[in-house]
Subunit: 304 residues, 2 copies
Amino acid sequence: MMQALAGKKIVIVGMGLIGGSVARALARLELTAEIIGVGRDSAVLEQAINDGSITGFTTDLQTACADADFILIAVPVLAIAKVLQDLAPVLSEHAVVTDVASVKQAVVDAARNVFGAVPANFVPGHPIAGSEQSGYAAAKADLFAGRKVILTPLVHTNPQAVNLVTALWQATGAEVLQMDVVHHDEVLAATSHLPHLLAFALVDTLSQQGESEEIFRYAAGGFRDFTRIASSDPVMWRDIFVTNSAAIVGILDEFTADLNQLRASLIAQDAEQLLTLCKRAKQSRDVFMAMNSGAVKSKSSKSD
Amino acid sequence: MMQALAGKKIVIVGMGLIGGSVARALARLELTAEIIGVGRDSAVLEQAINDGSITGFTTDLQTACADADFILIAVPVLAIAKVLQDLAPVLSEHAVVTDVASVKQAVVDAARNVFGAVPANFVPGHPIAGSEQSGYAAAKADLFAGRKVILTPLVHTNPQAVNLVTALWQATGAEVLQMDVVHHDEVLAATSHLPHLLAFALVDTLSQQGESEEIFRYAAGGFRDFTRIASSDPVMWRDIFVTNSAAIVGILDEFTADLNQLRASLIAQDAEQLLTLCKRAKQSRDVFMAMNSGAVKSKSSKSD
């Protein structure tokens, strides 16, 4: 799969956690490819070239992309439309473009708006990997190792473009899957966007209590884990919440309905109902963990 | 502080995660004290004596406690009343009793019901330490190192009993604080009980989606951390939810009100409001983490 990338000019637009980690992962493979970082902050780009993550950089997107073979757009969802607009005049027909946003319908819509139709060589993608940390400083070569990347190609997407994007992610150690755009946004709303929303909301509710400092002082490890994702990048999450709002509200409403039932059980001090809930949730979570550790194991034994 | 425990007969009622960890912590100190484990499962008690965590054991509470100097009750909240009832006929006047439950008003009420008035030597307590794991197998000697233990003595509680309980927890490496019963239950409702409720509820909501297996398959590390506490012991949490329901419903309602506002921002795709929330929450959470790591540091430098 690495041969597919050899000799190519790969441009990474946005050298944050994800873009920087892709650069680091590719650098470690010692491809003969040219890897160009594009960003607004030249200090970060200089850091990346000093690290050996990239072979060159520019703050000018069009210069970088005019003769690119592969363009990976790693900026927050709402910034993608502007990148595509800037890209449109210089994009060569053979260049393959992908993105990393956690919302796919909004990206497809942006591409359609800019290009009239979504280009056949544009492959929407989403690595399910991340961290509450953000920025190039948090980037690491193994961020995608054993993680899933979901591609959401459209019916007219060029299969060879899909193959190239697949090859890139597989080269970083990820497992690549395909999914329908709408389905992706619904699944991610449930597993990622809603939990982040709840974590942001809970921390915000508690921080606005009169005794908030004391509340935080007596919080323990469970709270730390539960709210870890509330330390995530606010702009990235603002963009996800805005662009996937319908799917998020859908699952939020189901959650709120369940929470209201639970509230009734609390008020009634209904021990039986509460035990049923706790048992069922623990069982589901334990099954999830077993699935998850199984996946990680089979992944690492594959790469051994 | 360890001298206060030397030569005493210490009985630990309930050899689960907390009781077992206290036993292990005390065993490591090589006190001359007798440490007796009481539980229902003699296989666990035999394991504990083989580990050297306890010096003796029995499944008969009254036998163990008749001549005890110190009794630590480490069973779920709703099981405490029964323990106190069994204890009442044999409890000597000088024996100091404490518990470890995450809800304190219900424990105080149980003691008042059983004894007519809360005994002067009964010191309600709560170590803010735990894990999503449970049972003696998960117990470890350093579970309380650097953690906080909150005691909630009443006005007529014997100061010497408070001192002894403080000495015990300090011997495990914990920092001991005092708080009013009602205030304790409100603070814990916010920092611990509500997050657990949300985690149980979220996992339950998602597990009841038609596509639940697929949802869990695409969940990543953030989800794992966020839902870790949903793997906690169901009986223990059922008991906490039942006995602290008023305080939990109070903070739940504030949270739900904030969540409803957030829902309105989502529907309006109000980027500015959503960014404000994310930024404010991230800032609060980062401040919490800084407070927390500061506390851990000052603790470990003290014990060095």
